[in-house]
């Protein structure tokens, strides 16, 4: 049994292309161009090697891990490839210890695929940013046309499936700060999303995120604070991951996902050619930021070799910010310095607070003051600020 960092999540890039063309995509619109050299789909011999390596890793670590099919658009692998991979994985892994999920834009979902996912206990999370006018800001196809109707068709199929309860894991939305958070929230609730999550748009200190006027401005923090208010005011809320992580960390609990809190996460990505890489969000920093120095590949290298390597340990340590500003920050235990990609500048590398620092502060301060006003002062790990009323 291996000691050290364990695998939490493995992202399988079953397809390295996407059938739509989101303006904010860190894979195809960022500085990294490596995807051009990747095979478009995972080949059968790589699929087989991935399954073998995951089984091998499961035998070597105590904790389970999540397996997420990702892309590009993972459904571009096609029914036969997905069926062969998912049936093989599910025959070796229990649902309890090794959840399998797919993150999809929803446009290629079919009844046949959903039956396969039900059979292999594979849950589906759909990317959608809100109602059409909000979704169309960023999520267009390669001809510049709206993808909203196609995604909604996929969600309708999901929602009407007999196994909907299991299959529909939730929605993932990229924040469009110009959009009204109340309209987005209501839309996702009416959609029947069983859980929501909201992501920041890519950006760093060289390139400010869209909709953010300057480092000190708080457009995203205000947007999320408003979502938090809507969430706390909702008599029948569904879990919102970014809000839940923030609230739990304020109360001394743990986060569930990287980007909040101070726990390291063991995340590996496997490309369509079998190459093993770091968290692909790092690609938004510079070309090749997610590559290990060694060209590790599932066909030749075990995941435990990668997890035990000094390079992996250094990469996992990036969750803890280098910046002295963050290290001295009273909100560090909750914020965690945000995801590393947002800390990047050409001049100082990752040795900066997050480009979203003021947004994190605004949202966390807002959460703290709301929890304080709800009678939870004694449970808070950070004192409420007198100048931040809910």
């Amino acid at each position: 049994m291996d000691a050290g960092i364990q695998l939490d999540t493995v992202l399988l890039k079953t397809a390295s292309r996407c059938n739509i063309d989101c303006s904010y995509c860190y894979v195809y619109r960022g500085p990294d161009t490596a995807w051009r050299k990747q095979p478009k789909r995972m080949r059968p011999e790589v699929l087989a090697a991935v399954c073998d390596r995951l089984v091998e890793q499961a035998d070597r670590q105590r904790a389970g891990f999540a397996i997420v099919l990702h892309g590009g658009e993972p459904l571009l692998l096609g029914f036969d490839g997905l069926a062969s991979m998912l049936r093989k994985l599910r025959s070796r892994f229990s649902l309890e210890r090794h959840p399998i999920g797919i993150q999809t834009n929803g446009t290629l979902l079919t009844r046949e695929l959903l039956d396969l996912f039900a059979e292999t206990r594979t849950s589906v999370s759909v990317s959608i940013d809100g109602p059409r006018e909000v979704n169309d800001i960023g999520r267009l196809d390669h001809r510049g046309a709206s993808t909203h109707a196609a995604t909604m068709r996929g969600i309708d199929l999901l929602d009407s499936h007999d196994e909907r309860e299991f299959l529909f894991a939730g929605t993932l939305s990229v924040i469009q700060p110009a959009a009204d958070p109340a309209i987005v929230y209501r839309f996702l609730k009416d959609l029947g999303s069983p859980s929501m999550d909201f992501l920041f748009q890519d950006g760093n200190h060289d390139r400010l995120p869209p909709g953010k006027a300057r480092f000190e401005s708080t457009e995203y923090g205000q947007w999320l604070s408003r979502v938090l208010d809507l969430y706390l005011a909702d008599p029948s809320p569904v879990p919102i991951r970014v809000c839940d992580d923030t609230i739990k960390l304020c109360l001394g609990g743990e986060s569930q996902k990287e980007g909040r809190g101070n726990k390291p996460y063991g995340i590996l990505v496997i490309e369509t050619d079998g190459e093993i890489r770091k968290n692909d969000t790092l690609r938004a920093s510079f070309d090749g930021a997610d590559r290990f120095g060694n060209p590790w590949n599932v066909t030749t290298t075990s995941l435990s070799t990668v997890l035990a390597s000094p390079e992996f340990i250094a990469y996992a340590g990036m969750h803890s910010p280098e910046s002295q500003v963050c290290r001295a920050c009273e909100l560090l235990a909750i914020c965690g310095g945000g995801m590393p990609l947002y800390r990047w500048s050409t001049e100082r590398g990752y040795d900066n607070p997050s480009v979203y620092c003021h947004d994190h502060k605004a949202m966390i301060r807002h959460a703290v003051s709301r929890l304080d006003a709800m009678g939870l002062r004694d449970a808070l790990v950070v004192r409420p600020s007198p100048d931040h009323a809910p």
Binding site: D8, T9, L11, C22, A63, G64, A66, V68, H70, R97, P99, G101, Q103, S123, S125, S127, A169, G170, L172, V174, S195, M196, L199, D229, L230, Y231, L232, A233, P235, S236, P237, P239, R241, D244, I247, K248, L251, G252, G253, E254, Q256, K257, C329, E330, L331, L332, A333, L371, A373, M374, G375, L376, D378, A379, L380, V381, V382, R383, S385, P390
Partner: protein
């Protein structure tokens, strides 16, 4: 860096109804639906024998 970080209380209070929690929060009259669930999770995480398995909550990843 206005205020120091303090250690979390080892015992969370029973779930508070959202009294005085802002104009938008209705009076649920029962435990708060979000906070009840999250405080229960935090309590479970703090149990010495708790092996909190976060893998089950990670479907919402990526884009």
């Amino acid at each position: 860096m206005d205020q120091p970080t303090k250690q979390p209380s080892s015992r969370l209070p029973e779930v508070a109804a959202p009294e005085g929690s802002g104009a938008e929060t209705p009076d649920f009259g029962v435990a708060h639906p979000v906070l009840s669930r999250l405080m229960e999770e935090v309590r479970n995480e703090k149990r010495v024998d708790a092996a909190y398995d976060r893998v089950h909550h990670r479907h919402n990843r990526g884009r």
